[in-house]
Amino acid sequence: MTGEEAGNGRDDMLIDGCEPEPPQENAVPDGFNADYLKVYYGKLFPHDDMFRWMSYGNDGKHPGCDQSYFGRREFSFTLDNDIYLRFQSFNSASDMEKSINEKCPFKIDIGPVYNVDPAKRHAYAQAGDNGFTPVERELVFDVDITDYDDVRYCCSGADVCLDCWPLMTVAIKVIDSGLRDDFGFNHILWVYSGRRGVHCWVCDGKARRLNNEQRAAIADYFRVYKGNENSQKKVTLTGHALHPFLARSYSEVLQKFFEGKLLCSQKLFSHEERFEKILEMIPDETATSELRGKWQESRRTSISKEDINIARWGTLKKTLHLRSKKVLGLGRCVEEIVFSYAYPRLDMEVSKHMNHLLKAPFCIHPKTGRVCVPIDPDCCEEFDPTTVPTLAKLLGELNMGVMRSDGNDEWDKTSLGKSVRYFRSYFLQPLLKSCKLEPLWCSNETAYNVLVLFSCALHSSIEEMDGVKGPAFCVFDTLMVGQERWD
């Protein structure tokens, strides 16, 4: 964008009749443009950390490193004029940094690691179906607040406010605990998508090597909400008990959130239209008409000091509890309502396939100008999307910082510092440490067990051997039959 256009921006403001604020020292006018972005990529974007992340320990000097690893990763750039460059790949950190600085992409997406350099894919495409194929990719999740439009009344579409954002917080908590406790993953990065949702990157070696079927299985494990535009009931829970994962999500997160927050913040029972939506989910005419009667009555004679939403929810629970003794299929109804309103709604397709692209952390969202910063799942309640640093704010801080002192890491002087530090110490360092533990000649976690097994055998420690026997034998198998077990 040129200076001329920036000038136009100022003209607009005058036309709107609002006098521009007296410029603070070094303040940068709000906005998003290529000039700002160039400075951001040049001075603030953590190129090096991104490179080290995407290398997964393969950038070291040790002989076992797979030097081609980073170069086989697909990046995709969306440029200023919406030109879309897919299959970008880089041989080194400086190569990547140079390209980003030169092309100044409005959006950077990260794709899978392929079997060959994506830039040379055409040469391999002729070699049959498997000439060019993805071999590794983080397990990713995408939760988008627009998918909750039927249960939030404060905003719609891409808008987000502090009343509906907690739905995202709940999504993070539920999915994060499932990934760690149930699936045993450790290296998980949550990222604010810049406007209306969150992304999740699961980076354990085991997660990166999952095939599509296994990815789909995990996504399905998390999938409770099955609504589409043309069906009525969105959540159906059957069986005599909830699966332990759902039971835990319900008792530890959803129930508290629904009753303590969502009920009142979204005023779920305050209007007829809203409570009708909930009554629709109750498959028992007697109960619904009883409740409807009470609530229409009480509207006229409301005297209670208690919040109307909480009171009505209490009545609903009581009524259903009584009725469930007489009517079959009502037992799960309260839970179904809570799950419908509060349980995470995943964009399934993103998680199911290895070759789905996902926006890189630390990009700037062109519409909001906000940085896609990591979110710490342990304190995700504190995350406030409305205070996430914007491009303009960072540049302003940068201007101030330049006068104050100089150092290597420019971002440290800005409000981006906190995010980069979190990324490094809570995500990147533990991740790289675990990568080092993976044997170099075969980056597979079961292979690690073989080493343990060997060393156990040396020390004749039978007990320890028992622990690793299973997976390790798999690896023996693998060694014996060559590459048969690899996908």
């Binding site: 919406d82 879309y84 897919r86 495409a125 049959g128 179906d129 498997n130 627009t146 998918d147 909750y148 439009d149 039927d150 406790d181 149930d182 699936f183 045993g184 993953f185 085991k206 999952l210 079927e213 296994q214 789909a216 299985a217 995990i218 399905d220 494990y221 999938r223 909400y225 099955k226 609504g227 589409n228 535009e229 043309n230 069906s231 009525q232 009931k233 069986g239 005599h240 008990a241 909830l242 699966h243 332990p244 994962f245 759902l246 039971a247 709604r345 964009d347 399934m348 397709e349 026997k469 299973g470 997976p471 034998f473 798999c474 198998d477 014996m480 039959v481 060559g482 048969e484 996908d487």
Partner: protein
Amino acid sequence: MEIVRSQRRTPAAADVALTLPLYRSAPELQIRLEDFELFAVDRLRVLKGISDGLSRGKKPDEVETLVRDLWKSNMSQPQASEVINKDIISHFVLRLVYCRTEELRKWFLSMETTLFRYRFRLKSSEVQRALMAEFDLPYKAVSNAEFENVKEKLGQVADSIGPKKKSMPNADTIFYKVPFEEVPELVAGRRVFLLKGYAYVAMNQVSSLVVTRFRSHLSKALVLTNRKWTSTIREREADRLTPIVESLSTSYLGPDYSQPREFAEISLKDIDQVAKSSFPLCMRHLFEKLREDHHLKHGGRMQFGLFLKGVGLKLDDALAFWKAEFSRKIGAERFDKEYAYGIRHNYGKEGKRTDYTPYSCQKIISSTPGVGDHHGCPFRHFSEENLRAALGKMGVGNRPMEDVMDKVRNRHYQLACTLTFEAVHGSSCDAGINHPNQYFIDSQKILQKVIPFIIFQDPWSNFPHGDYGKIGQMLTMSSSSIYFDMDLTLCRIIPHCRGAVRQGKGVFSEMTSRVLVIFAVAMLDPTCVQAGRL
């Protein structure tokens, strides 16, 4: 690698292999060329039967019965030893047939895996255990101490999937602790307890483990076979096996509809009219929503866009079509930036440059439309109320509507669609609906079968000329199944009527179709026949 395994094979396992082979190595057998094809066709019948059953949403125990029956009726041989040979030979022939493209491999892999799963389930537990040994599954049963720790959770899982009474696991129940990746289908259905990356698999779920192994083995084998096929076999067998192999894959799976055929090309101005007359419900719905909202989410764009491609909408027209709608909501510029790529991509002009094939019913039925999505199969994904409204809009009458809803309740979605087709076209559809593009083509065939209506043809020359107008009246009044031009020069006949004619009067079996039309006219008004006027 096969040698290493067979050396370790125990005698018991070898016996097992006789009843349910794992197809690890190709048989060293001489086989006659016609058996080569015959066996393959028989096995294909089994796989196709399974595929149909699955797309009708059959429950596991129904599929089990289905598999048993299909296997018995198609794969039996007089001699026991021949049975196993036929099993193995047919499998390896079909590997050749179905290794050649990603789409074929996917179908074959999924059907063979299902077949294996149910055959495995039908075996006794000794045989099952022997097969597990055959696969060298390294899992050990969960120890008592560990079991006590997770007992409560295991009970919870059992309760969440089964009836309450018998499901409480006790210390006698054997559980295996396996990495979750090994049992994706149990994970997907939340039918196992997961802890720190391990799934606790009950003995009665063990088929899932074996099946996963079977599947991954076959998946790799198919890729290898494909390599061999393209590098050597195809050339070498150009005169002998190649023609058989190439015809086998299309004869049963049906065409993929990626290239519009017979009624090639529709133009933009025809879309509305054609949509009304010949689009299946799923596509009509997407079309209506697109017109209404001027937008469709990704799943809808894929399902509808590829369908239109199969119908014969050229790339330029497709771009114009989508643009006309989308730009009303988001503006032409944003359409060009954000959506045009995807459309060119579908036509193989971007990215991988694959010419994508339109979705089949099976794929559409098994899709999972989410919030804001309109794609999927209406018979499966609509609520009853919405479905009834949509069918009513299509012109399905009360009685056929109940038949359709009955099929839907029994999860025969494709049958429901077939009945809808018949109700709308007033004509039978014996092949059933397997693909939205097939629906379209069949519909067009019926509508375009324009037959000259020549009244002077024998044996009805005595049909008085003066009654032309009356016939016309009769036709327009009586049924949707015959489209009649009032000037009596053209008439469209529907196969259904032809059948009726045959039933009514065997004498006329050799009639030419145009004569049949005239007779069909009479059939519409039985009094006419009874009166002996014809």
